[in-house]
């Protein structure tokens, strides 16, 4: 069964909608900037969402029925901001998929929220209140601290009554969600599935922990630091705020509803690496790329573009390019390769969904976005996108996501066949 993309939505540091995301990718806009020194040795750079106002963002979805907008405000006006961003991204995707007009059977609609440990920042912010007087914790805390609150709230707003849950795979969570949703559609469990790359609200303690492992950029000299995927001076990732939503659907359902198909999810693979560490491994990464291409029925020479996981950690970038060489063989230098994380930072659990959206946007727009801060490439054979926009005819693309603990994933996206 063919699985297609019929809707997309995004809120991140460089865009508040998919059209503005498209413009920002073309322009190579960077959402990364300095943040106040937390004083704990944690990261001093981040790609933050600025100027987000939930009420305005809901009002902007004026093509949706008023009842949906009212329901969103009722359900989430007092929810933590990360949930509000997830909901706004999902409203955009729901609208683009035309689910408010050509409706799907509520029991044939699924909802997969990709991510885990999503609300630690929220819990951290409430801790002083708890220390002061536990009785004054908001009653909603018991709902809001759970990742599944995103599932419950979004299902209520959209009236989704089919299968739904959260799935996790560290930084690969987004792709884990897309793959799970594709399986729900392929198995016939649902006709339509919203996949939400959930905004990950890291607490200062967690960010400090990542810095301890040497994974983040800009701890020592933030004024010099950048996110530099594939550059010899790469020094780690920059945390990014972002939420994305993709509507996956069977081709039959999309045709029956008469909606436009944006792209096809042609294939995928997800394999564990039997490895609890944060260490990326070439062999396991290559394996999922090879298997995903086989699953899609395409060969290495068919791939025109790779949206790399490329967080800008030295070990990660090197392992990924070695894996790409192994997976693509003689075609290694053929496809364009770039990293969206150079523009929006590492959106953690949402990254896979954000990057799937970036891939579809570039495929449909016929371009590859710049690799920012790439001055001295770590590899001369790979066709790394330069620091400026390039036209590109993309028929098939890979989008990689790898996570601490050995989560290796790759999806193949294609223009509709």
């Amino acid at each position: 069964m063919r699985v297609v993309v019929t809707g997309m939505g995004i809120v991140c540091s460089i865009a508040s909608t998919v059209p503005s995301f498209t413009r920002a990718l073309r322009a190579g806009r960077c959402g990364i900037g300095p943040v106040p020194d937390p004083g704990d040795g944690g990261p001093r750079l981040a790609a933050l969402v600025k100027g987000f106002r939930f009420r305005d963002a809901v009002a902007a979805r004026h093509r949706l029925p008023e009842e949906t907008r009212r329901s969103a405000l009722r359900a989430a006006s007092r929810s933590p901001r990360p949930l509000q961003m997830d909901l706004v991204a999902a409203m955009q995707a729901f609208e683009q998929a035309g689910l408010h007009e050509a409706k799907a059977d509520p029991e044939r609609m699924g909802l997969v929220v990709a991510g885990h440990n999503l609300s630690s920042g929220y819990a951290h912010d409430l801790h002083p209140k708890y220390e002061d007087n536990p009785a004054h914790l908001p009653a909603r805390f018991a709902l809001h601290f759970m990742d599944t609150d995103r599932v419950g709230t979004l299902s209520q707003v959209f009236g989704i009554r089919g299968e739904g849950y959260t799935v996790g795979g560290a930084s690969a969570s987004g792709n884990v969600g897309l793959i799970n949703a594709a399986r729900l559609v392929e198995s016939g469990a649902v006709d339509v599935c919203l996949v939400v790359g959930a905004m990950t609200d890291l607490s200062p303690m967690e960010k400090r922990g990542l810095a301890t492992l040497g994974a983040v950029a800009g701890v020592e000299e933030p004024h010099k630091a950048r996110c530099r995927p594939f550059d010899e001076d790469h020094e780690g990732f920059v945390p990014g705020q972002g939420a994305g939503c993709v509507v996956l659907e069977s081709a039959r359902s999309a045709a029956a509803r008469g909606v436009t198909t944006l792209a096809e999810l042609c294939g995928y693979d997800l394999k564990l690496d039997a490895n609890s560490l944060p260490d990326p491994r070439e062999e396991g990464e290559a394996k999922v790329m090879v298997n995903a291409m086989a699953n899609a029925g395409v060969g290495a020479r068919d791939i025109d573009y790779v949206n790399a996981h490329a967080t800008a950690t030295p070990s990660g970038d090197l392992a990924e390019l070695a894996a790409l060489r192994r997976a693509l063989g003689d075609s290694f230098g053929r496809p364009w390769v770039n990293s969206t994380k150079g523009l929006v930072g590492h959106c953690m659990c949402a990254a896979g969904v954000v990057e799937a959206i970036a891939t579809v946007v570039q495929m449909r727009g016929g371009f590859v976005h710049p690799n920012l801060n790439l001055r001295h490439p770590i590899n001369d054979d790979c066709r790394l996108a330069p620091g400026r926009l390039r036209d590109a005819d993309i028929r098939y693309a890979l989008s990689n996501s790898f996570g601490f603990g050995g989560f290796n994933t790759c999806i193949v996206l294609g223009r509709e066949r």
Binding site: R74, S77, R78, A135, H136, A139, R140
Partner: protein, 79 residues
Amino acid sequence: MTDAQIFETVKQNVLKVLPDLRPGDVTTEGTLTDLGANSVDRADVVTMSMEDLGLTVPVSEFQEVHDIRSLVDLLARHA
């Protein structure tokens, strides 16, 4: 702290939790349920009002609350 002050605090929190209401909708005669509050909304009004008033009321005592007047009375006993 007067009952009127406590009611005003409760009323403001009801309006925060249920922003579609008009201020005149909230009276001591009514119940939160009739105003459209669900179980968590009602609990939110309670915790927010306790915080604003600087009070701590044991959770078990809220079982006796059946309308806005009895909520105000309970908070007043602990003030």
